[in-house]
Symmetry: C2
Subunit: 263 residues, 2 copies
């Protein structure tokens, strides 16, 4: 399966602009043969937009954002995992959805690990990890930014069958070690693919780390963006997962009773 | 606290030679001001020595190896974490012990995650993670080689209070990503120090990766050996842990109920 990550500058609390830019890049990705496009965190609106804009721009699961992205997915002919502010629980959650090329919603997920004051001021936390769903024969889960820094998240998704974790992110300086070390570690220690789609440029005082990547089941970069805007394309190979697990089967070698006894 | 890692070629199933070399390097490390010396996995005897040599050379906890290392520790005036074959359960375990500068045994641990056929042919697995013990005011745990590749091990030790994990290892090609990516990830994702003491050179068909390291609580190298024999010295700073956790408190942000629900 060929996938594409959209490394872009954030829009400024403008969902119309976010959707217009998504439409353009979806056609670009489809033109390059991608079956899936992954956006950064909150890509429809921008990430550091503040509490008031979050409340104003938040929409429910299955609402107008899902319908608009479904139309783009059908029109371009590829699946799309997109980030948006979700109206839920009387506030906004930091969410992502995976829409198939047919326009069906395959998965909805709200970020469960809020990062520092910037997340806590804007969002309510989700209360469950992502479902694992099938896309083009691949078992796929979602995580958002800070979530993937916790090994427990990728491990739980991998043990539930995920072969590929899609991670919309808004990873900022000075946390460059996340795309360069922790994301590849998550892929390696589970023998899966992790696709991490980050912003570039600035948003208020934030400077984004860029460096979006697809890490393979051996932890090595299958694709890696530099500093600027980019559409990162990578071809995933399920045999690479099989080969890796034949060499080192971290999931099979787990001894869960041991970890409970100490923690 | 200043610590030293002994990156060396393995001895050939000769505990007398292993102890003689340990004595020499312990004096060297103490002369450089180290309060603790960490050896590779099974350093007293060599690692890939075969089933028969393991059985012949295995000694119990508190037995002659502990007594001999205690004498070296007292003589040189520093603590020593050493690897050895442990006689237990009618076979050999792949074990490590931490001996204080006074010669007291502070911790005993048997490797819980056996690596592939080479470990399974030689060893029985341990049945508990390391205790956390105090050394020079630091809370310290042990792990051995393959153990540290599982994020659950470092997490359990860190949640039990470890600020420093000592890892005797026999990490071989082509698994260079372990010292270069996974070990630093364990330090970063827990906000702790990880000291990983590897062999260099060859042992039978095995070629060791060397690259022993001390990774700090931000995941960066505090010290890193190259390819050859080396005594790696690093000064640990508990304030670095405090500062890191003030920036990102991964342990405090855990949501254990979420991980159970999916796995």
């Amino acid at each position: 399966m060929r996938i594409a990550l959209w490394q872009t500058v954030p829009v400024a609390a403008d969902a119309g602009e976010g959707l217009a830019r998504l439409r353009a890049v979806a056609h670009d990705a489809a033109g390059q043969g991608a079956a899936l496009l992954v956006t950064p965190e909150m890509a429809l609106t921008g990430y550091a937009i503040g509490c008031e804009a979050c409340a104003r721009l938040a929409r429910p699961r299955g609402g107008e954002y899902h319908k608009a992205v479904a139309a783009i997915a059908r029109e371009a002919g590829l699946a799309i995992a997109f980030g948006y502010p979700e109206a839920a629980g009387g506030g906004a959650r930091n969410s992502a959805a995976l829409i198939s090329a047919n326009g069906d919603t395959l998965a909805d997920y709200a970020k469960t690990h809020l990062f520092d004051e910037i997340d806590r001021a804007q969002f309510l936390a989700g209360d469950a990890l992502s479902p694992i769903v099938e896309l083009e024969g691949w078992r796929v889960g979602l995580a958002i930014c800070f979530d993937i820094e916790f090994p427990e998240v990728a491990r739980a998704l991998a043990r539930a069958g995920a072969e590929l974790i899609l991670v919309p992110t808004a990873n900022m300086e000075p946390y460059r070690s996340v795309p360069l070390r922790l994301v590849p570690a998550r892929a390696e220690e589970n023998g899966i693919y992790v696709a991490y789609a980050n912003y570039t440029g600035a948003e208020g005082a934030i400077r984004y780390c860029a460096r979006s990547c697809v890490a393979g089941p051996d932890g090595e970069d299958l694709a890696r963006a530099g500093e600027g805007e980019a559409l990162v394309v990578a071809d995933l190979d399920r045999l690479a997962i099989v080969r890796r697990r034949a060499a080192i089967d971290y999931l099979g070698e787990l001894r869960p009773a041991l970890y409970r006894s100490t923690s």
